[in-house]
């Protein structure tokens, strides 16, 4: 039970409007933390703060501390941080190149591929880990824009795995996918937690109950409750949580 990420009293603002208020939360190594909550509850803001994607937004500012393995992330070099904490977005974002190039793009830029002969092996391993290899192995040199949405999303997972990060953030990764593709993505998430720490933001309460080790419920920028997934879904402590997971609002 090692804390991979520790968040202390985090406040986030867009245009001075507070969207996340005094959040204190821990993410435990090799676990999946699911975050549920209605729209505008600050879930995505939290994720985008963890790998500092929000630093690109001029209207955004934040207060508080986040530690990755005890190291303060706001003092870290942004590129190194994002190499360690990778992110999968809600909509699949294949880069405008071939499937093969999509996977070697980041490892090449980060200097992880030292010999050219390793390249094929890295691509194959990443695609296998994302359970996409069988579907695309014969057309690695076609454009990544031409495969289906579900395949694109798994390609994005493969791309992340090729960088070998420590933490993977999933931002509603299945919102645009059909149930079968969703099941495949969830399956790979559960396999991935052996090696990685995962934070999953989802609008789908059932998904949180299926894959999360812990589940946190956010509402209006506040953390209402966090607990083991089994406990939270069976006997939530807060009335608001109960209302949300039973579908009475949100």
């Amino acid at each position: 039970m090692v804390n991979k990420i520790e968040v202390r009293d985090l406040n986030c603002y867009y245009n001075k409007r507070c969207v996340l208020e005094s959040l204190t939360i821990n993410v435990i190594q090799n676990e999946i933390l699911s975050i549920i909550g209605p729209a505008n509850s600050g879930k995505t803001t939290f994720l985008r703060t963890l790998n500092r994607m929000n630093d690109l937004d001029a209207t955004y500012c934040r207060k508080g501390e986040i530690y990755l393995d005890g190291e303060h992330i706001f003092n870290m070099n942004m590129e190194n941080l994002r190499k360690r904490i990778s992110m999968l977005f809600a909509m699949p974002i294949p880069l405008p190149m071939t499937i093969y190039e999509n996977i070697v793009y980041a490892p090449k830029r980060l200097g992880l591929i030292t010999r050219k002969s390793d390249q094929d092996a890295i691509v194959e391993q990443a695609l296998r880990d994302a359970s996409l290899w069988d579907e695309v192995k014969d057309r690695l040199n076609t454009s990544a824009m031409k495969i289906s949405g579900g395949q694109q999303q798994r390609l994005c997972i493969a791309r992340i795995l090729a960088v070998n990060p420590e933490v993977i953030l999933f931002d509603e990764p299945c919102s645009g996918l059909d149930p079968i593709s969703t099941a495949k993505v969830e399956e790979s998430m559960i396999e991935l937690k052996e090696k990685y720490t995962i934070v999953l933001v989802t609008n789908n309460v059932k998904q949180a109950s299926r894959v999360g080790d812990k589940t946190a419920f956010f509402l209006m920028g506040k953390l209402v409750e966090i607990d083991e997934t089994d406990k939270l879904f069976v006997s939530p402590k807060e009335k608001q949580t109960e209302n949300y997971i039973t579908g009475r609002f949100g």
């Binding site: 790998n51 994607m53 690109l56 590129e79 190194n80 994002r82 190499k83 990778s86 992110m87 977005f89 909509m91 974002i93 294949p94 880069l95 405008p96 190149m97 071939t98 793009y105 980041a106 830029r109 980060l110 454009s143 994005c156 791309r159 992340i160 960088v163």
Partner: protein
Amino acid sequence: MRKIIDSAIETIIFICGMLSIVFVVLIFGFLFKEGFSFFRNFGILKFVTGHFWYAASDPASFGILPLILGSTLVTIGACTIAVPIGVMSALFISEIAPKGIRDVLKSLIELMAAIPSVVIGLIGVITLVPFVKNIFNLPTGLTAFSGSIMLAFMAIPTIITISEDAIRSVPWKYREGALALGATKWQTVRRVVLKAAMPGIIAATMLGIGRVIGETMAVMMITGNAAHIPHSIFDPVRTMTATIAAEMGEAVRGGMHYRSLFAIAFVLFAITFIVNFMADLFLGKNKNI
């Protein structure tokens, strides 16, 4: 009634759409007609590969190789200067510049595009030509090099404006996708943004080249107009366009000289056509990625 209006509007739009095709075909036909009779008398190979352009002498010699080389030299020189500067300025404007600077820059660049070429030529003659003469210690500053610099000035606004549009229309999510993998800003720009914007940047470059090849006034004023084969970029040259503009007034209508100018125009047209065609081929090739 509504149906009539509908089909009338459709017809008008159709005619407008077809007009450009009609014009291109007409221009091509006209040039071909005037040029072809010249080629029959003089021989196309002798025309294109001849080393001497003595159109007014007797016997006259119509060799346009020096003119083709002049145009090529000036165009290549101008592109070497204009394309890197143009694309990098576009990158600065779209990726780096804060909003205030960006707005000022954009409107200044649009203003730059509106400067008439004769004014650019005039400024070039007064400032650039003596400068080039002194700094390289040449007998004259009226050289292909000076022409390239001034033409680069004229192509840069076109290249910037269109490249910038192309770079800005690259979806923001591509940048996020690459950044989230730990790529630096420059790596993202180079491998993802530039790559996605490449068709637009190539189109911008082609339009820039088009402007440079076709430019007449400024090159006529700056390049020295000596119709001999240039040995370096610091020699005076004469371009095809400048030849047509300079000699059209003194050529006897319907005569050999007159028709030779049309033949030059025909060659120029063919060159621009080939450049455009290659650009299209290249763009088509890039599309499936």
